[in-house]
C-alpha cells in the first residue's frame, strides 16, 4: 500500500489508514476506514458492495450442513476437495450420494478416509440421509444428539473412531434404523433404554467401548449376540426390578 503525502510539514499530517472486512452471510463487503488525522472530522466509511461472487444458497441446507462438517474435519488426504459450496446442491460432490428424483443426500461415504476432527449438530440437517458411513477414521468428540433427527437413516456406521461421551438418547427417534455400529470407540455411560423401541434394528454393535450398566433385553435387543457388547464395563443382561439398568456406572 503506497501512501503519499506531499504536505511538507505539519504536526498532523500523518495519514492513517486501516481497513477491515465485515463478513456477512452471503457476501463480503469491504469497509475502508480511511481518514486523515489532521481534520479529524473526515471519517468516511466507504461501503463498496462487492457483487456476490458466489452467493451461497442458504436454503441449500444439506450442502451447508456438509460444508459445515467439512470445516470441522481435518482431511490430510483431501478426500473432501470436491466439496464446493457454491454449487446448487452437494449432489456432485464426491462421497455424497443423492436420490435421483429430488436431489436429497441419501448417502455419506467417508469410511476409511484418514479424517479426524469432530462431528457437529449440522449433520442433523441431512433429513433424507439413509447411510451415514464414517467408519475407520480418527473422528473424536461426541456423537451429536442431532443425529436423532435423521428420520430416514437406515445405517449409522461410526465404528473404529475416537468418539467419546454417551450414546445420545435421541438415536431412539431413528425409527428406520436397521444398522447401528458404534464399536471400537471410547463411548461411556450406559446404553440408552429408549433404543429398545427401535423395532427395525437388526444390527447393534457397541463392542470395544467403555460403556457401563447392563445390557437391555427388550425389543430387538433380545436378538443381538453377546459379541456386540464385548469389551466394555457392562454388567450382563438387565435384571429388571432387581438392579437399576445403570448399575455400576
Amino acid at each position: 500500500m503506497e501512501i503519499r503525502n506531499t504536505h511538507f510539514i505539519s504536526l498532523l499530517d500523518c495519514l492513517f489508514l486501516c481497513s477491515f472486512i465485515f463478513k456477512f452471510h452471503h457476501f463480503y463487503f469491504l469497509v475502508l476506514f480511511h481518514f486523515e488525522m489532521a481534520p479529524l472530522s473526515l471519517f468516511s466509511i466507504l461501503v463498496p458492495f462487492l457483487l456476490c461472487i458466489t452467493p451461497t444458497l442458504s436454503t441449500n441446507s444439506e450442502g451447508n450442513a456438509l460444508h459445515a462438517l467439512r470445516s470441522r474435519l481435518i482431511d490430510p488426504t483431501n478426500v473432501l476437495q470436491s466439496w464446493d459450496p457454491s454449487l446448487v446442491n452437494p449432489c456432485t460432490w464426491f462421497h455424497v450420494t443423492c436420490d435421483d428424483s429430488n436431489n436429497h443426500v441419501i448417502r455419506l461415504d467417508l469410511g476409511n478416509s484418514n479424517i479426524s476432527g469432530t462431528l457437529g449438530p449440522e449433520l442433523g440437517e441431512l433429513k433424507h440421509l439413509q447411510y451415514l458411513e464414517l467408519y475407520r477414521n480418527e473422528i473424536g468428540g461426541k456423537i451429536p444428539k442431532e443425529l436423532g433427527n435423521l428420520k430416514n437413516l437406515v445405517s449409522m456406521d461410526l465404528y473404529e473412531n475416537r468418539l467419546e461421551g454417551e450414546i445420545p438418547e435421541s438415536l431412539a427417534k431413528l425409527k428406520s434404523l436397521r444398522f447401528l455400529r458404534l464399536n471400537n470407540n471410547k463411548l461411556t455411560g450406559s446404553i440408552p433404554r429408549q433404543l429398545t423401541g427401535l423395532s427395525n434394528l437388526k444390527v447393534f454393535d457397541v463392542s470395544d467401548n467403555n460403556l457401563c450398566g447392563t445390557i437391555p433385553v427388550d425389543g430387538p435387543f433380545a436378538t443381538f449376540p453377546m459379541k456386540s457388547f464385548e469389551n466394555n464395563r457392562l454388567n450382563g443382561p438387565e435384571l429388571k426390578g432387581l438392579v437399576p439398568y445403570d448399575f455400576g456406572c
Binding site: I3, F49, C52, P55, R178, K202
Partner: protein
C-alpha cells in the same frame, strides 16, 4: 580507494579552477558533494538538470540557501521521480537543516553518514524503496525535530538510539518491516507529539515508559503484533488526542486509566484480544468523536452512553460478545452520532426505540445479533439514515410503510429474519435506494410495481421468501440494476421483456419459481450478463438466437425446464465456466463452439434429446472437470481428443447410443472419480489401463456388450465404492485382485458369462453393503464359506449359476442380510436355520436343498428329492392321488382286459406297459431378448413341473414375475402364480 579519492580531488580542483572564486568555500564544497550525491541518483524527469558547476548552487532545483547565500539550509526533492540511491556523501552537507527526499523511488539503505548532519531538524525519507536498518548514527542528530522515514522496506529493530533525539516532535516509522519491540528509550522523547508505528511487524509489549512522551498527541501503532496489556501509563498522556492500537494481539481488559485521557478524540482498539467489560468510566471521555472496539472478546452490556459522550460521531462495537439490550438513555435528541455499528454480538431485546432519538444516524448496523420483535413504525424518525443493517436477527412482523419516508436510505439489509407480510408500495419513494436485501424471510404478496421507481437500485435480493405474482413488467426502469436475485419464491408468469433493458445486469437468478413462457428476445441487450440461473421453473420454447450475442456469460443453469430447440444460442460466450441444461427437451447436436470457452469446467446436458456425436474439439477444454451427457440420443464413439481433458472428475455418458470399444486412454484421467458409460453399445474388452484411474469411486460399465475377462488391474482401484459390470458378455473368472478394492459397497457382476468358482478372496470386501450380485453367470463350485465375513452385506444374489454343495453355515454371520437369492443352482443339503425366515423364492430351483422354508429334510435328504412347500406338497398329493387313481383305473382296465383276454383267449400275452410318475424340473429361462426388457422393467422365470404319464401328460407351469426396480434391481419375487 585511492583512485576514488584521487578522482574526488580532481573534481574539486576542476570546480575550483572553473573560476567560482566568489562563492564561499562552503558553497564550493557543498556543490562538490551535491554533485556526488547527484551522481548516484537516476533522474528521468531531469529535475537535477540545472545542478551544474556553472550555475550558482542556490539556484539549483530543490536547494534552499541562507539569506546571504553563504550556505545551504534545505534540500527538498520530494516527489521528483528520483531513483538510484542516497549517497553517503550527503553527510558532508553539514549546514543542512531540512532534508526531504520523500515520495521518490530511492533504493539502497539510509547512509549512516546522515548522523554527521548536526544541524538537521527535519529528515523526510518516507515513501521510497529504502531497505536495511535505521543506522544507529541517526541518534546523533541532536537537533532533529521531525523524522519521517515510513513507507519503505526498512527492516530490523528500531534503534534504541532514537531515544537520544531529545528535540523530536514527529516520528513516523509506519509501513515498513520493522520487527522487535518498541524501544523503551522512546519514553525519553518528552517533546514528541506524534508517534506513528503502524503497519510493521513490531512485537512485544507497549513500553510502560511511553508516559515519558508527555506531549504526545497522536499515538498510532496499529497493524503490528504487539502483545500484552495496554499499559495503564498510557492514561498519563494528558495531551493524547488519537490512540490507534488496532489489529494487534493486545489482551487483558481495557484499562480504566484511559478514561483520564480528557483530550482523546479518537480511540481505536479493533482487532485485538481484549476481554472483560467496557469500563463505564470511558463515559468521561467527553471529547471522544470516534470509538472503535470491534473484533475483540469484550463482554457485558453496553455501558457507553451517547448522552455522556456528547461529541461521539462513530461508535463501533461490532464482533464482540456483548449482551443485554441497548441502554434506554442511550441517545440524546440532538445527538451527533452518525455511525452506530453493533453487529455480531449477542445483543437482544426488541428494536431499541431509544435509537430513534439518534436523529443524525447515517449508519445503523445491528446485524448478527439476537434482536427480536417487530420493526418500529417510527423508523422514519431516522431521516438521515443511509444504511440500515438489521440482517441475521429474529425480527418478525411486516416492513412498516413508513420506510418510504426514509428518503436518504441507500442500503437496506433485512435478510435472515422472520419478517412477514408484503413489501410496502411506499418503498417506491426511496429514490436513493441502491441495495435491498430481503432474502431468507417469510415475506409474501406481489413484488410492488412501485419498486421499479427506485431507479438507483443496483442490487435486489429477495431469495427464499414467499412472493407470488409476476415480476413487475416495468422492471426495465431499473437501469442501474446489477443483481436481480428472486430465487426460491412462488413467482409465476413470464419474464417481462423490459428486463432486457436493465443493461447493467450481471447476475439474474430466477431459479426455483413457477415462471413460464419463453425467454424474451430483448435479452440480447444484457451484454454484461455473467450469470443466469433459471433452473426449476416451467420455461419453454426455443431459446432466442440473440442470446448468442451475450459474450460475458460465465454461468448458465437452465436445468429442469421445458426448453426445446437447439442449444447453439448459448455457445456465444467465450467466458463460460459452467453450463447446466439438464432435464429439458433440447435437441440437435452439441455445438462444437462451446469448445471456445477455454475455462469451461462443468458441462451438464443430461436428459435431453441431443443427437450426433461428442465434438472432437472438446479436447481443447483442458479445464473440464464435469461432463454429463447421459440420457440423450448421442451416438458414435468417444473421440480420442477427449483424452486431453486431464482434469476430468466426472464423465457420465450413460444411456445413449455410443458405440465402439472402450478406449484405453480412459485410464489417463488421474482425477477421474466417476465414470459411467452404462447402457450404450460399447464392445470389446475392459481396458487394463482403467486400473490407472486410482481415484475412481464409481465405475459403471453395465448394460453394454463388453466381452473378454475382467482385467486383474481392477484391483488397483483401491478407492472404488461402486462397480457395476452386469449385463455384458464378460467371461473368465473374477480376478482375485478384486479383494484390494476394500472400499466397495456395491458390486454387480450379474448377467455375464463368468465362470470358475466364486473367489474366497471376496471376504476382504468387508464394506460391501448395498449388494453383491453374481447372479445369472456360470459360476460353479461351492459357495465359499468366507462370504460369511461380509457382515455389512444387505443383499446377496448368487442365483442362476451352477453352484454346488451345501450352503456354508458361516453365511449365518451375514446378520445384515435382508435379501438373499440362492435360487436356481445345484445346491444341496440343509438350509441353515438362520435363513428360515427368507422366502421360498430365495432357494427355489435347487434340486437337493431342504429344510425351511423348503420342505423338511427327510431321511434320504439330498438324494434327488425335490423339496417343496406345503402348498406344493399339497399339490403333489393331489397329483399323486389323481395319478394313483388313474393308475388304479388303468390297472383295473388292464386286469379287466387280462380277465377279458383270459376269458377270450386261454393264452396270456404281456401287458402294454408300466405307468409311473416322473417329476422333472425345467431349466429356467431368462427372458431378456428384447431391448425393452433389458432396460430393466421385468423379467420372467418359467419353471415347469412336468407331470407326465404315457397317456395323459399334465403340464403345470409356475410363472414368477420378478419386478425389477430399475435402480436397485432388488430381486424379490413379488408374485408367483401357478398356471395349470
Amino acid at each position: 580507494m585511492g583512485s576514488i579519492q584521487m578522482s574526488h580531488l580532481m573534481l574539486l580542483l576542476a570546480v575550483l579552477s572553473a573560476g567560482f572564486a566568489v562563492t564561499h568555500a562552503d558553497n564550493a564544497s557543498d556543490s562538490f558533494w551535491l554533485l556526488r550525491v547527484k551522481s548516484e541518483i537516476i533522474d528521468p524527469a531531469r529535475v537535477l538538470e540545472n545542478w551544474t558547476p556553472r550555475a550558482h548552487i542556490c539556484s539549483w532545483n530543490g536547494l534552499t540557501c541562507s539569506d546571504d547565500q553563504s550556505h545551504i539550509l534545505g534540500l527538498n526533492l520530494s516527489g521528483s521521480g528520483l531513483s538510484g540511491s542516497l549517497s553517503q556523501e550527503i553527510g558532508h552537507l553539514s549546514s543542512l537543516e531540512t532534508l526531504d527526499m520523500s515520495s521518490n523511488f530511492l533504493t539502497g539503505s539510509i547512509p549512516s553518514e546522515l548522523g554527521k548532519l548536526q544541524n538537521l531538524r527535519i529528515l523526510l525519507l518516507y515513501t521510497n524503496s529504502l531497505c536495511g536498518k535505521i543506522p544507529a548514527e541517526i541518534g546523533l542528530l541532536k537537533n532533529l525535530q521531525v523524522l519521517r522515514i515510513g513507507d519503505n522496506m526498512l527492516t530490523g529493530e528500531i534503534t534504541s538510539s532514537i531515544g537520544n533525539l531529545r528535540e523530536l516532535r514527529v516520528l513516523g516509522l509506519s509501513y515498513c518491516q520493522f520487527n522487535g519491540s518498541i524501544p523503551i528509550e522512546i519514553g525519553n522523547l518528552k517533546h514528541l507529539t506524534s508517534l506513528d508505528l503502524q503497519n510493521n511487524s513490531l512485537s512485544g509489549l507497549i513500553p510502560e515508559e511511553i508516559h515519558g512522551c508527555e506531549g504526545l498527541e497522536n499515538f498510532a501503532a496499529s497493524n503490528n503484533q504487539l502483545q500484552g496489556n495496554i499499559p495503564s501509563s498510557v492514561g498519563l498522556l494528558k495531551s493524547l488526542q488519537v490512540l490507534n492500537l488496532a489489529n494487534n494481539s493486545l489482551s487483558g481488559s481495557i484499562p480504566i486509566a484511559l478514561s483520564r485521557l480528557s483530550n482523546l478524540k479518537y480511540l481505536n482498539l479493533l482487532g485485538n484480544k481484549l476481554s472483560g467489560e467496557i469500563p463505564s468510566e470511558l463515559n468521561q471521555l467527553i471529547q471522544l468523536e470516534k470509538l472503535d472496539l470491534s473484533e475483540n472478546n469484550i463482554s457485558g452490556a453496553i455501558s457507553l452512553l451517547n448522552t455522556r459522550l456528547r461529541n461521539l460521531e462513530a461508535l463501533v462495537l461490532s464482533d464482540n460478545a456483548l449482551t443485554g439490550s441497548i441502554p434506554s438513555n442511550f441517545c440524546l435528541r440532538n445527538s451527533t452520532l452518525q455511525q452506530l455499528l453493533l453487529a455480531g454480538n449477542m445483543l437482544s431485546g426488541e428494536f431499541p426505540l431509544e435509537l430513534l432519538n439518534c436523529s443524525s444516524l447515517q449508519q445503523l448496523d445491528l446485524s448478527n445479533n439476537k434482536f427480536e420483535g417487530e420493526l418500529p413504525f417510527l423508523l422514519d424518525k431516522l431521516e438521515n439514515l443511509k444504511d440500515l443493517l438489521l440482517n441475521n436477527n429474529s425480527f418478525i412482523g411486516a416492513l412498516p410503510p413508513e420506510i418510504g419516508n426514509m428518503s436518504n436510505l441507500e442500503n437496506l439489509f433485512l435478510f435472515d429474519n422472520m419478517i412477514t407480510g408484503g413489501i410496502p408500495v411506499e418503498i417506491g419513494k426511496l429514490q436513493r435506494l441502491s441495495v435491498i436485501y430481503l432474502y431468507d424471510n417469510q415475506m409474501s404478496g406481489h413484488i410492488p410495481r412501485g419498486l421499479t421507481n427506485c431507479t438507483s437500485l443496483t442490487e435486489i435480493d429477495f431469495f427464499g421468501n414467499h412472493f407470488t405474482g409476476s415480476i413487475p413488467a416495468t422492471i426495465g426502469k431499473l437501469k442501474n440494476l446489477v443483481l436481480l436475485q428472486l430465487r426460491q419464491n412462488y413467482l409465476s408468469g413470464p419474464i417481462p421483456p423490459s428486463l432486457g433493458y436493465c443493461k447493467r445486469l450481471q447476475i439474474l437468478a430466477l431459479a426455483d419459481n413457477r415462471l413460464s413462457g419463453s425467454l424474451p428476445p430483448t435479452f440480447r441487450f444484457l451484454s454484461g450478463l455473467s450469470k443466469i440461473t433459471l433452473y426449476n421453473n416451467s420455461f419453454q420454447g426455443p431459446l432466442p438466437n440473440s442470446l448468442f450475442l451475450l459474450k460475458n456469460l460465465k454461468i448458465i443453469n437452465f436445468s429442469n425446464n421445458r426448453f426445446n430447440g437447439t442449444i447453439f444460442p448459448l455457445s456465444g460466450s467465450n467466458a463460460l465456466t459452467a453450463l447446466d441444461l439438464t432435464n429439458n427437451s433440447f435437441s440437435g447436436p452439441i455445438p462444437a463452439r462451446l469448445a471456445m470457452s477455454r475455462n469451461l469446467e462443468r458441462v451438464r446436458l443430461a436428459q435431453n434429446h441431443l443427437t450426433g456425436t461428442i465434438p472432437f474439439i472438446f479436447g481443447q477444454l483442458i479445464e473440464l472437470k464435469f461432463l454429463d451427457l447421459s440420457f440423450n440420443n448421442l451416438s458414435g464413439g468417444l473421440p480420442s481428443q477427449l483424452s486431453s481433458c486431464e482434469k476430468l472428475e466426472h464423465l457420465l455418458l450413460n444411456n445413449n447410443q455410443f458405440k465402439g470399444t472402450m478406449p484405453p486412454w480412459l485410464g489417463s484421467f488421474q482425477e477421474l472419480g466417476e465414470l459411467d458409460i452404462s447402457s450404450n453399445y460399447f464392445f470389446g474388452t475392459v481396458p487394463v489401463e482403467l486400473g490407472n484411474c486410482s481415484r475412481l469411486l464409481k465405475l459403471c460399465l453395465h448394460s453394454n456388450t463388453l466381452s473378454g475377462e475382467i482385467p486383474p488391474e481392477i484391483g488397483n482401484l483401491t478407492s472404488l465404492n461402486v462397480l457395476t459390470l452386469q449385463r455384458n458378455n464378460l467371461s473368465g473368472s473374477i480376478p482375485s485382485t478384486i479383494q484390494k478394492c476394500k472400499k466397495l459397497y456395491e458390486l454387480r457382476f450379474s448377467e455375464n458369462f463368468l465362470t470358475g468358482s466364486i473367489p474366497s478372496d471376496l471376504e476382504g470386501l468387508t464394506e460391501l453393503q448395498v449388494i453383491l450380485d453374481l447372479s445369472k453367470n456360470l459360476f460353479s463350485g461351492e459357495i465359499p464359506s468366507s462370504l460369511g465375513n461380509l457382515v455389512k452385506l444387505e443383499r446377496l444374489n448368487l442365483s442362476y449359476n451352477k453352484l454346488q454343495g451345501e450352503i456354508p453355515p458361516t453365511l449365518g454371520k451375514l446378520t445384515s442380510l435382508h435379501m438373499l437369492n440362492l435360487s436356481n443352482n445345484h445346491l444341496q443339503g440343509h438350509i441353515p436355520s438362520i435363513f428360515s425366515g427368507f422366502p421360498l423364492s430365495s432357494f427355489l430351483g435347487n434340486d437337493k436343498l431342504c429344510g425351511p422354508p423348503l420342505v423338511t429334510c427327510s431321511g434320504s435328504m439330498g438324494q434327488g428329492k425335490k423339496h417343496l412347500s406345503n402348498t406344493e406338497v399339497a399339490g403333489i398329493i393331489v397329483v399323486i392321488v389323481s395319478t394313483s387313481t388313474v393308475v388304479c383305473l388303468i390297472m383295473l382296465y388292464i386286469m379287466f382286459r387280462i380277465w377279458c383276454h383270459w376269458r377270450d383267449q386261454v393264452s396270456i400275452s404281456s401287458a402294454d406297459g408300466v405307468v409311473g410318475t416322473e417329476k422333472k424340473r425345467g431349466e429356467g429361462k431368462w427372458v431378456y431378448g428384447d431391448e425393452k426388457s433389458r432396460n430393466g422393467d421385468y423379467w420372467k422365470v418359467n419353471s415347469m413341473v412336468l407331470v407326465s404319464s404315457q397317456d395323459k401328460p399334465a403340464k403345470s407351469t409356475t410363472t414368477c414375475v420378478f419386478h425389477l426396480k430399475t435402480d436397485s434391481e432388488d430381486m424379490e419375487a413379488d408374485t408367483c402364480s401357478k398356471v395349470t
